[in-house]
């Protein structure tokens, strides 16, 4: 059943009265192409995370070769990823051209 509200139940003028409610909004339905991570080629430079306008690149904690704590790319949050392709375009590994760290494929929604 739809959780969308009737007009009578909305506050006036489209005001959003709940802080941070954008997280509940599924921008994933806008997507026609989707980014796919290939972690074996990823350098974990985090450029994709930095560029993503939807905060859809999910990171995880880990350690680098010297044992220091740092963040690694884990996966894409497809609830929020709108398929803009910014991450794919800005990925330095992709730009280098030898490997694809972030692929971009037709989405079957």
């Amino acid at each position: 059943m739809s959780t969308l509200k009737n007009w009578q139940d909305l506050p006036y003028g489209g005001v959003i009265v709940e802080a941070g409610s954008a997280a509940k909004y599924e921008t994933g339905t806008w997507r026609t192409w989707k980014p796919v991570t290939h972690r074996e080629h990823c350098s974990h430079c985090l450029k994709c995370w930095e560029y993503c306008p939807e905060d859809a690149i999910i990171l995880e904690d880990g350690r680098d070769s010297s044992g220091a704590a740092r963040k690694f790319v884990k996966e894409v949050n497809y609830f929020h990823c709108k398929g803009c392709g910014l991450c794919v375009r800005e990925c330095p590994v992709n730009k280098d051209g030898k490997f694809v760290a972030l692929g971009f494929v037709r989405d079957e929604v």
Partner: protein
């Protein structure tokens, strides 16, 4: 509160623009943002003197354009303030985008609109092309025949616009130069009485309430946009009732009674003229004269054009035999906006179907004299006797090269 006189109402000689500035002083809004433009300039000019002289507590924002003026008004209103402005013609055209934003964000911004022709060719004089162009923007529009009516409408404006069932911006319209720059005697009510009538402003989800953070003006797509617009439409529908309630309370407080429209000698009228703003004054005079000669003629003067009281007007015109509508703006390639509304009201809500005659007059301040009105009435009589309006339909009045 600053410098509030307590006492009796005064009879004062004042221009229509000056009268609106006085209403603004008495209302003492939190914020006024405006950019001066002829013929509304005196409203802002007088008000800025009140600010400079400490007669109001208002934050007066001088902006570089009307686009910014309306933007500042919307922001200040979303911040929880009572907000007012004034403009005319091209000034309002430059606010266009923001007029819609104010209405869709349900911000009850209050405006004095001094009606002036839109540019093309440049002209500073009266017609209604500015407010008629903005009729779909979602603002309540109240029209005023006299300086007194402009003042009274503005005193009532806050309570109508800010009513919890309405929450919409409101413009009080009056005719550029004809009333804005003409001195008429009128009753200026006591400051305290006006402030008591208007009452305090209640903010709605203010962006300055940091304990309850909100977002105003967010993107709104296929899933909710139309629900928000439906709510906006409901505010307008509710406004019909609220305008009358506030007007009735105004009558109890100050003694002058207003409706959604004024019917002047309408009960038994065969010929009914329909008009807005100052032209109604001349029309009334001609009606009295022609009535004394036995012609049954009356006037329907619209006060609330948005929302438009279709049902009430249809009923008021139920015994008319011909309704001649005088539009002071042109909708090129169509009949004037007032005519189309009156036609809708008559067709749907009047038990009788009178002849309907459309005329356009007064563009760019072209005069409408008593003689022209007499002529319009006699032409309406001819149509009525023939039982058809024929090629008189859509004629422009007092244009060289045309007959009317």
């Amino acid at each position: 509160m600053t410098n509030v006189t307590a006492g009796k109402p005064k009879i004062v000689p004042i221009t229509g623009a000056g009268a609106c500035a006085q209403a603004m002083r008495q209302i003492n809004p939190d914020v006024v943002a405006a950019f001066p433009i002829t013929p509304s300039t005196q409203v802002v000019e007088d008000f800025s003197a009140f600010v400079a002289n400490g007669l109001v507590d208002t934050e007066f924002v001088t902006v570089e354009s009307e686009h910014s003026a309306m933007s500042a008004c919307i922001g200040a209103s979303a911040a929880g303030g009572r907000v007012m402005t004034a403009t005319s013609s091209a000034g309002m055209a430059y606010m266009w985008e923001l007029l819609y934003v104010a209405a869709s964000m349900r911000q009850p911004v209050l405006m004095t609109l001094v009606n002036r022709a839109l540019t093309g060719p440049i002209n500073i004089h009266c017609d209604h092309s500015d407010s008629m162009g903005a009729r779909d923007a979602g603002w309540i529009q109240l029209y005023s025949e006299t300086n007194q009516e402009a003042y009274d409408n503005l005193v009532m404006a806050a309570r109508i616009a800010e009513h919890p069932d309405v929450r919409l911006p409101l413009m009080v319209c009056q005719d550029g130069f004809i009333t804005s720059h003409s001195i008429q005697t009128m009753q200026l009510e006591d400051d305290k009485a006006v402030r008591a009538f208007v009452g305090p402003h209640k903010p709605y989800h203010s962006i300055l309430d940091t304990d309850k953070p909100v977002t105003w003006g967010a993107l709104d797509l296929q899933d909710y946009y139309i629900e928000h617009k439906r709510g906006q439409e409901q505010g307008m529908r509710n406004a019909l009732r609220v305008i009358q309630e506030v007007s009735d309370d105004f009558a109890k407080t100050f003694g002058r009674q207003y409706g959604l429209f004024e019917d002047y000698r309408l009960e038994d009228a065969d010929i009914v003229l329909v008009a807005l703003n100052s032209a109604a004054g001349e029309i009334k005079e001609v009606i009295d004269e022609m009535r004394s000669k036995g012609e049954k003629v009356g006037l329907l003067k619209i006060r609330s054009f948005r929302p438009f009281p279709y049902v009430e007007i249809g009923q008021a015109l139920s015994s008319a035999k011909i309704v001649t509508v005088l539009d002071r703006s042109a909708s090129f390639g169509a009949h004037g906006p007032l005519f189309t509304e009156i036609s809708t009201a008559v067709y749907n809500y009047s038990p009788n179907q009178p002849l309907l005659l459309a005329h356009t007059f007064g563009l760019g301040g072209r005069e409408l004299t008593l003689r022209h009105i007499e002529h319009i009435i006699s032409e309406s009589r001819i149509c009525l006797d023939k039982g058809e309006v024929g090629n008189r339909q859509g004629l422009w009045v007092n244009v060289r090269g045309d007959k009317l």
